[in-house]
């Protein structure tokens, strides 16, 4: 470009050179709006199929332009983290900054290339819009500023959890996860967008957004306080919960969900145990109601109910058949997933509030239901599912054919277990994985090598166990064979002793469920295999040991297809008897906790009616 000499050069006539512009066409603006650029920030579009109603756009909008509106016909599914809310925009407030687009967890909201809207005074309401894929005027404008990788502000990646690698964990029962340190916990907690989908999905509606926020702020005691609002089994759930919360997490739709479970673990471990006890005791009633409640079974359901009731002033006694409390959590979940000293802490908090736990007291033998009926104002049955089922295939009555729950119980009680050099586990659920990995560790400790084979009816896509369990089991040397149906246990006959188990004969499973989804396994008998092992462990199902109720009580109770008939409050047909937990809801710890709350609420409702009003 050429420079110009400004020193007053040029004559008076220089400006007249601009007259040549009369000959040029002028710069005009066309009447139709011109097409906007590809990244233009125009009016909103929202893909209602992708939108989950998490309200993050509302939270980040700096002008409070977004209101979430509930649309009745849209699907809502708390378990998957989907709400029937959709954002409505007030264009009198919106500044088109597109932060809503960049922070949308699913990428459903975007800005289009449409930018013109006019209306009469009487149509001012048209500035309030419920954007969908059709745009503000229903005319198809292409997307402008939409979710893209470089403009994505959602924290999609989770803080890595350190875990013991397979060689370091196979020879012991040490806890596999190392837990977050303070830095990792704060970073992980900062990913949360506080949408509350986790709260909706949790069976006991834990205040997860609140405790995550408290962890982020560094206020760990507040985090514990928020946790104890709904869950007195937080050391346990912080390690082994089935994390419905994480399945519903809105960040998890495109990224990895917030590690809600590990954050709970972190908060509970970070606060001193004595402080936890004091926090848990906050709100305890200072009076005694004078009523007495008995709980049969010191598992999550029973102890949660006990926790609630003792805080409301009831006198609570828990009868536990085993020497320690915890139920299936202690006697079914191996230490490498949940160390027993953590369970001790959860139980200690509850016991420290005044709950009396009578250990080694089996209802049915040491004390009868009739005595409980007589001596207590309410009784809660939370006996769990402690009876392991058997396939009853030929040979399954041999003494070295074990039920998984029994074997796990023995290991937890540190009973001397005869460790087989090779073992076969029948079953494909989490219990099968637990027992296989437990046997693997015992084998490593005793023989220096692992030989466990797991056979399950399901094929790998439909395995009932968690994918992490399957992966970790394989890393530990467990062989997993899907789609095998057990037919018979084979023996090596011995002259003077009980026959030794040789192995298991299986047929390949072609399908498990029929077209209507009913259990109807079909086998390919030509595909037969023999799996060698000295011990066979069955992990195919569990049942409640209802014989402890005794014949007379069983007759008085109402049953529904083999299980206790309870109303939606957990109460049986007998006015003094409630039931909760695995035995009525199926095996799941956090559901048991929720159930414990439910029956405690019901009992409090019933027992707190004053006698003169009754």
């Amino acid at each position: 470009m050429r420079d110009i000499d400004y020193k007053d050069k040029g004559g008076i006539l220089n400006p007249l050179k601009s007259l040549s512009f009369f000959g040029r066409s002028s710069v005009t603006v066309p009447l139709e709006p011109r097409a906007a650029s590809a990244n233009y920030r125009g009016f909103h579009l929202n893909d209602w199929e992708a939108c989950i109603g998490c309200s993050t756009c509302q939270k980040v909008c700096d002008n409070a332009a977004i209101t979430m509106v509930s649309i009745p016909d849209l699907p809502q599914d708390p378990a998957k983290g989907i709400r029937n809310l959709r954002p409505a925009i007030d264009y009198g407030r919106c500044c088109w900054c597109a932060l809503c687009v960049d922070l949308c967890p699913t990428g459903s909201i975007s800005l289009s290339r449409e930018y013109v809207h006019t209306c009469l005074d009487s149509e001012l309401d048209s500035y309030f819009v419920l954007p969908d894929s059709n745009g503000i005027h229903g005319t198809p404008y292409p997307k402008g500023w939409a979710k893209s990788e470089d403009a994505d502000l959602v924290a999609l990646e989770r803080a890595r959890m350190e875990e013991l690698p397979p060689p370091e964990r196979i020879g012991n029962f040490n806890e596999i996860v190392a837990g977050y340190d303070a830095n990792q916990a704060i970073i992980e907690a900062s990913r949360c967008v506080q949408c509350g989908m986790c709260f909706d999905a949790c069976p006991t509606h834990m205040n997860a957004p609140e405790y995550i926020r408290a962890i982020w702020k560094g206020d760990l005691e507040q985090a514990v306080r928020e946790i104890y609002r709904t869950n007195p089994f937080a050391h346990t759930c912080g390690r082994v919960c089935t994390h419905r919360c994480e399945d519903a997490c809105s960040v998890g739709h495109r990224g990895t969900p917030i590690a809600i479970r590990w954050l709970k673990r972190y908060a509970m471990d970070a606060v001193d145990h004595e402080r936890v006890k004091r926090i848990a005791a906050e709100g305890k009633a200072r009076f005694l109601s004078g009523k007495r409640v008995a709980v049969v079974g010191a598992g999550p359901a029973g102890l949660t109910a006990a926790f609630d009731l003792i805080k409301q002033g009831y006198e609570v006694t828990v009868f536990e058949a085993r020497p320690k409390a915890g139920g299936m959590v202690r006697y079914g979940i191996p230490d490498y997933r949940l160390p027993q000293d953590r369970i001790d802490r959860d139980v200690d908090v509850i016991a420290s509030l005044g709950v009396k736990i009578r250990y080694g007291t089996q209802v049915g033998t040491d004390i009868t239901m009739a005595e409980l009926e007589r001596d207590y104002d309410a009784v809660i049955l939370t006996i769990g599912l402690w009876m392991g089922r058997s396939t009853r295939i030929p040979g399954s009555d041999h003494p070295r054919v074990k039920r998984a729950v029994t074997l796990l119980r023995d290991v937890a009680e540190k009973v001397k277990v005869s460790v087989p050099a090779s073992a076969i586990v029948i079953g494909g659920g989490n219990v099968a994985m637990d027992v296989a990995r437990t046997i693997a560790r015992l084998q490593k400790q005793t023989y220096g090598q692992v030989k466990v084979t797991v056979t399950a009816l399901e094929d790998l896509e439909h395995f009932l166990a968690d994918p992490e369990e399957i992966k970790e089991a394989r890393e530990e040397g467990v062989e997993i064979l899907p789609a095998r149906g057990p037919q018979e246990i084979l023996f090596k006959p011995r002259k003077y002793e009980v026959d030794k188990i040789h192995g298991l004969r299986t047929w390949r499973v072609l399908s498990i469920f029929d077209a209507q989804g009913r259990f109807a396994p079909r086998h390919d008998e030509a595909d037969e295999q023999i799996h060698e092992g000295e011990m066979v462990v069955e992990a195919i199902g569990q049942a409640a040991e209802v014989e402890v109720l005794g014949e007379e009580l069983t007759e008085r109770l109402d049953w529904n297809r083999g299980r206790l008939e309870i109303d939606d409050q957990g109460r049986t047909n007998l006015s003094w008897l409630w039931a909760a937990g695995d035995m009525v809801r199926g095996p799941d710890v956090v559901s048991a906790v929720a159930d414990g709350h439910r029956v405690a609420l019901s009992i409090n409702g019933v027992l707190s009616i004053r006698e003169d009003a009754a």
């Binding site: 700096d62 402008g144 470089d150």
Partner: protein, 380 residues
């Protein structure tokens, strides 16, 4: 009544009168009021009355998250919004210890220079209009529109870009964008002779602008004048060279100055700066294709972002002068205090008042425009 008890009612002398210029006035840049006391055609005293554009941004920013404030920053100075965004981002980046990736730095420089070009084109028109010549204004706005087209393509918005974010920029340049920048710069280069013919060698304009609003270098320094206004008094000071930020120390450019310190000198400085900005922009678009990498460094979830406590003063050279942000954080998710050191605040208030004394009425508007005082920046 006795003569000694008689008190005359004091009235202003009959040859003085008060005149309000603004807040709505074509001779005022933006919404701004200037009260004059005149003696015939000469100004005896001018009183600046700011506040018509006070939107309370600094206080608003205290109540919003750090990320939400991005939408407020470009609105503080409308003609030249990018330095506002960039300066805020630089302040937050310094507080957080964030390192901006290289590509983002170059993209920021490109934006800053394009914004400077657009602001100067705007100002030429404004200055010319105060002398009664309106064609440069139409030309300036039309040519500036082409630069705004470039911004629309890069950022999604023409004026309020909301494109810079602590850590970098929000999007990468689209394919072919650099070619379009080049062709726009070529076009602007080709237009410069037209502007020179119409405006910068136009003797009417030259005579009108010379001698108006003269200040000496000492006066400029005492009054806190910065930017082209200061360079028009002969002092070669530019934040880009003397306190470099982003990649300015890798770039080749001159700092034009003039000696006279009057309106004509100030306009000339801007005319020469336009050329320098085009030169810088050409260097950036030549360098960008070979600079790969991310356009943003990772930042925490914006909804849960505590900026470490501290206070920082970051300055950039805007088209109007030294623009700085003073940001104080108390470690929370919202700023504790943000303060904008807007260059126009000195220019529009005290400098204008001082320069208008003794000025002819018809030159008051020209004085303000030649100072390129931007009221949105004054009031915030």
């Amino acid at each position: 009544m006795r003569p000694e008890n008689y008190e005359a009612q004091r009235q202003p002398p009959s040859h003085e009168y008060e005149l309000n210029i603004g807040p709505n006035h074509p001779g005022i840049e933006g919404n701004y009021a200037f009260k004059l006391r005149l003696h015939g055609d000469r100004v005896l005293e001018g009183k600046a009355d700011a506040g018509y554009l006070h939107r309370g941004f600094e206080k608003l920013m205290e109540g919003r998250l750090w990320i939400q404030n991005l939408a407020i920053t470009p609105r503080i100075c409308v003609p030249d919004p990018v330095p506002m965004e960039v300066s805020y981002c630089l302040a937050v980046e310094e507080l957080c210890g964030l390192e901006i990736p290289e590509r983002a730095q170059w993209l920021r420089v490109l934006q800053l220079e394009l914004s400077r070009i657009a602001a100067h084109l705007f100002t030429f028109g404004g200055h010319a209009a105060t002398t009664g010549m309106y064609s440069p204004m139409f030309w300036g706005i039309a040519d500036r529109d082409l630069v705004l087209d470039l911004f629309e393509e890069l950022t999604g918005g023409r004026v309020y870009h909301i494109y810079n974010i602590p850590g970098g920029v929000r999007r990468d340049a689209p394919d072919g964008f650099l070619d379009r920048v080049r062709s726009t710069l070529d076009y602007l280069d080709s237009r410069l002779p037209d502007y020179d013919n119409l405006l910068f060698t136009n003797q009417v304009f030259v005579h009108r602008a010379k001698g108006v609003g003269t200040m000496s270098r000492e006066q400029a320094l005492e009054w806190g004048v910065t930017g082209p206004n200061l360079r028009a008094t002969g002092l070669e000071f530019d934040v880009r060279r003397d306190d470099p930020y982003l990649v300015y120390d890798d770039l080749d450019f001159d700092i034009p100055t003039e000696e006279a310190g009057d309106a004509w000198a100030r306009t000339l400085v801007r005319r020469k700066e336009l050329v320098q900005s085009i030169r810088i922009a050409r260097q950036v678009i030549a360098a960008l294709p070979s600079i790969a990498g991310p356009i943003r460094c990772p930042i925490p979830n914006p909804l849960a972002w505590n900026v470490p406590a501290g206070s920082v003063y970051t300055r950039v050279e805007s088209s109007k002068g030294e623009l700085a942000w003073y940001v104080v954080s108390n470690g929370g998710e919202r700023p504790y205090r943000t303060h904008v050191r807007g260059p126009s605040q000195m220019h529009a208030v005290q400098v204008l008042e001082k320069l208008s004394v003794g000025c002819r009425l018809e030159d008051v508007a020209q004085t303000m425009f030649s100072l390129d005082a931007c009221p949105p920046e004054v009031d915030r």
